[in-house]
């Protein structure tokens, strides 16, 4: 039985991150993470506490590091670079945004590489053996909805990436902390006071950003694929009624394609797999303003999984 990251002493984790790195596996991907920034050690220790601790992995998919390029930088205008192997794909960010930078960077690794899946920018959850895929158009509030569903018993596959198998269009988990921003943070805190949050990053280009720990069951089942169930396009509309309306598959296809990282790249195969995914899913539009009602609606929907 492998030890979990939470069982490591925080100081030990910190020194690991400053030397040989922390080896992390989430879903099908492995990372080696290095950083001398304390908030990153704290964030990882807390939010990936249920993940297994690997002393060493011979091969990692993504070798990443967050550090200041030089000592002078570190003292006077602390900024961090995100290194993917020896490249720096992004401009530096202030050290106050370190933890968010890490999570964004980890997302980037998946979004930009890894074409062996059809990838959608979407939240994915599971209940009763079927997958709920919610593509993330701006203003959708998908992360808030995703967090709420997870807190009410849905298994989290991902709040960011729908990884669709090219073989059979099943959904592959990559279970990581859920990112919440601005008002959503308080909304979820009220919704579930017991929710666990990592370092708060203020003044990012998205405003205030924080990450919420996934529940241990979701982490445990991080290698279990799920067959498609529902494809729902959420939209948060303040003061609105909760409404779930069916939509035709063809337009759902197009809308899902708009939220895909590599639909075009995969060409005919992309078309084939998207067809399978949409074909096997019940497609809906969803507008809401009240989280409790929203969860109830989805719970009812999940009973149609039979």
């Amino acid at each position: 039985m492998m030890p979990h990251i939470s069982e490591l002493d925080l100081q030990h984790l910190h020194s690991l991150l400053r030397s040989t790195g922390l080896y992390l596996k989430t879903g099908p991907f492995t990372y080696r993470i290095r950083s001398s920034v304390p908030s990153i050690a704290e964030g990882l220790h807390l939010l990936y506490g249920d993940n297994p601790y690997f002393q060493q992995l011979d091969f990692v998919d993504f070798d990443i590091r967050l550090d200041s390029p030089n000592r002078l930088r570190r003292r006077f205008r602390p900024k961090l670079d995100f290194y993917f192997d020896h490249q720096t794909p992004f401009k530096p960010l202030p050290v106050t945004q370190a933890y968010a930078f890490l999570e964004w960077g980890m997302n980037w690794c998946i979004s930009v590489h890894m074409n062996q899946y059809l990838k959608l920018h979407a939240a994915v959850l599971e209940k009763n053996g079927k997958a709920l895929v919610m593509p993330a158009a701006p203003g959708s509030g998908k992360s808030t909805l995703c967090a709420a569903l997870m807190l009410r018993g849905w298994r989290l596959l991902s709040d960011e990436h729908a990884l669709v198998s090219l073989q059979d269009a099943s959904l592959i988990p990559v279970c990581r902390p859920v990112s919440l921003k601005n008002q959503s943070i308080d909304v979820i805190k009220n919704f579930e006071p017991a929710a666990v949050f990592g370092p708060v990053c203020e003044d990012t280009h998205k405003g205030t950003v924080v990450h919420m720990q996934p529940d241990s069951r979701s982490v445990e089942l991080d290698d279990q694929r799920v067959e498609p169930g529902w494809l729902v396009f959420p939209k948060y509309v303040p003061e609105s009624e909760t409404r779930l309306t069916e939509r035709i598959k063809e337009t759902a296809f197009l809308k899902a394609g708009d939220q895909s990282f590599n639909y075009s790249l995969l060409g005919a195969k992309g078309f084939e797999v998207m067809s399978k995914l949409v074909g096997a899913s019940d497609c809906y539009n969803f507008s809401y303003s009240n989280l409790d009602e929203a969860v109830t609606t989805f719970d009812k929907l999940s009973e149609t999984a039979a």
Binding site: E250, F253, L254, G257, S264, G267, A268, F271, E272, S275
Partner: protein
């Protein structure tokens, strides 16, 4: 829905465009015969308004290089 392999375009065909494309996938055809076929399939009269609508659809398909004349 259709995937056009040459251009990489994905197409959503309306119900009136479907018989045109489907028939042409089997082989080239004279325009008149094509419209007759479509009228048959869609259960429409082959009248002026139908033909003008079909011309529109056809020219749209040609613009996207799905259909060409030879």
């Amino acid at each position: 829905m259709l995937y056009h392999t040459a251009s990489g375009d994905t197409l959503l065909l309306s119900s009136t465009a479907v018989p045109l494309v489907a028939r042409l996938q089997q082989g080239p055809l004279e325009k008149q015969a094509l419209f007759e076929y479509a009228a048959e399939e869609l259960n429409f009269e082959l009248d002026e308004s139908f033909i003008s609508h079909m011309e529109e659809v056809l020219s749209g398909l040609m613009k996207r290089d799905i259909v060409a004349t030879q």
